[in-house]
Symmetry: C2
Subunit: 356 residues, 2 copies
């Protein structure tokens, strides 16, 4: 009997998802440097080693330190460098080869003054997504930063990075390909300007749908290990690729209203949502077997409080017998971030990093 909400990981599907991208990267002679912010688990991290992965991507120095303790030595911190990071980078820099994102000569100065060993520098490009990095609409600032690096022996210019979050607003595979083309064009433009630079592409939707990474030196998708309901909606995977599920106790069932209250709220799923068929949803009920993950029609988490979830669409649930539901989360990265461990469908506990 389930005593509280838990996260279930389908190891077989995770490995299949990893392998698919690793092979695509391999065929394109592209380095697969997966983003580990999604799972935040040393054990799941080791699964990637079976598919040739030796370098990883994280989103903070703390997360880098967590994986460095497990022996990872080649780590990209895919977040704009700020001076507060430097103390932790100094420690990490003793044992790891680090890659950091730098946006200004001031940051180079801080790195030079505090680090002992060289770090590789990525310039994060903003080709229109509008988040962090240097805008490709102002090329002179990019050229200048590359020239600035020559003054700082600690800084080895490595290349250009784009995480194109705009692909998350796509609605089908073609839409993803259209959107990411802008980023690929920008990376290739800068590769022509600096032929020795490496170019790196970050998001899961484009990594999932492009035929080949050909011409791209590195790819850093993260979500692909688990996928989720949002990725199904975008068209970057099928329901059967989803590998992370929240199992939630049914706390109160209203069969006459086709509705139930489950133990699973914003503290378990996060409040990330998508719209499907005009309804805002926080997850969808699934039936999972080894061979198939089936999305249950019209069975959604439609409201979340901190601990309560409202499941609309309970047809087929037997009120007295089946006391839990399996939910495909909307955004697996944020759901995983809210738990302190996973369980496999084989019943084994997998530890993960806890909170920031």
């Amino acid at each position: 009997m389930l005593i509280r909400p838990r996260l279930l990981v389908d190891e077989h599907r995770c490995r299949r998802n990893i392998e698919r991208i690793a092979e695509k990267a391999d065929r394109s002679n592209t380095q697969f440097r997966p983003h580990f912010k999604t799972h935040q688990s040393v054990e799941i991290g080791r699964w990637f080693q079976d598919y040739g992965v030796t370098g990883i991507t994280v989103s903070s120095p703390e997360m880098a330190a967590y994986f460095a303790q497990d022996g990872w030595k080649d780590i990209t911190i895919a977040f704009p460098f700020y001076p507060g990071m430097v103390k932790q980078l100094k420690e990490l820099n003793k044992t790891c080869s680090l890659r950091v994102f730098v946006n200004s000569a001031d940051d180079l100065e801080v790195l030079q003054n505090h680090l002992q060993n060289p770090v590789r520098i990525y310039i994060e490009l903003d080709a229109g997504y509008g988040r962090s990095g240097l805008s490709t609409s102002k090329p002179e600032a990019i050229h200048k930063l590359i020239r600035d690096m020559e003054r700082y022996p600690i800084a080895h210019f490595h290349g250009f990075y784009i995480h194109d979050g705009d692909t998350y607003s796509a609605r089908n595979r073609k839409h993803i390909l259209d959107k990411v083309q802008r980023s690929i064009d920008a990376l290739q433009y800068w590769k022509n300007e600096y032929p020795s630079a490496k170019i790196s592409l970050g998001d899961t939707p484009s990594a999932s749908v492009i035929e080949t990474f050909s011409g791209i030196d590195e790819c850093t998708p993260g979500n692909l290990v688990f996928y989720d309901r949002m990725q199904v909606a975008i068209g970057s995977c099928t329901p059967d690729d989803m590998a992370l599920f929240a199992e939630l106790p049914i706390a109160q069932h209203f069969p006459g209203q086709n509705r139930a209250i489950v133990h699973g709220g914003a503290a378990h799923l996060s409040k990330d949502s998508i719209e499907t068929e005009g309804i805002k949803i926080f997850g969808q009920r699934v039936v999972r077997t080894d061979n198939k993950v089936e999305l249950m029609d019209d069975s959604y988490l439609t409201a979340l409080s901190q601990e309560h979830g409202t499941l609309s669409g309970t047809d087929g649930l037997e009120p007295d017998r089946q006391k839990t539901v399996l939910i495909a989360p909307v955004h697996s990265c944020l759901t995983a971030n809210l738990f302190s461990s996973y369980e496999t469908f084989g019943g084994r506990t997998i530890q993960k990093r806890v909170l920031s």
Copy 2:
């Protein structure tokens, strides 16, 4: 220099918020049994003892166990009982006086079969909010459940509970009062039916704005210790009552675009949002002094990735000097849930419970 996002607690404001409700409850001869899911901290829990609080409310058996270890002995678990809870309740029941929410005779049977000491039973009423509990539109089911309790010596009928989450959709104080009246009427109707039953009202908006709790036996608001930007929007507090802030490093500043990227994303703030002036926001920049909390006009977190926040409205921020911003979260309960500790403005660390 701030090395990562942190949560800052204003102890003075917390205590003022606690005291205000404790005194209002005291004047009305109402028991204040605050919900501790908001702060999830034994130290902050002890602050409430200074204002006469001896019984508390939590949302899971785990959270009850966390506070029981610190000596709390009178605990309400404000979540519909489900059979998976019983093992933990059995343990808690050895040292604590427990109050649980029960919706069916089946649940009473499970409690009778597993617990050794009596528990007090609340019937959660749904007076129209549409979440958990028994609908007041079907009074016979409520009467029947009360009769059912007589067959189970373990179950001591205690009273009726309403958490009226509908007040969170209010837009001003009068609107809150209008909405909560439905719940108060329902509680008083059932008190008339069962005069020895206690009636208990749960939400922070109504606890904050009603003049008196007169006629209500217990109140269980939680958010009131910190308040947040949502409560300001609803009209249940002033900006100056807000007592929890996220301090976030500025990672990249685009002064020409009136925009910055901060280290603070969905993994720190949660994705809960409100609309203000037609914009969806995840937090607002503030300037805090001991005397005042000032909301900065047009300075909002307008987009969150897992670790990145986009701050729109950076006027007045000096790019080179002031390297952090202070953010009033939209929903302090969910923000607090994402951190493993707090710091006071005096520089002291306060531990809290970590994850579920």
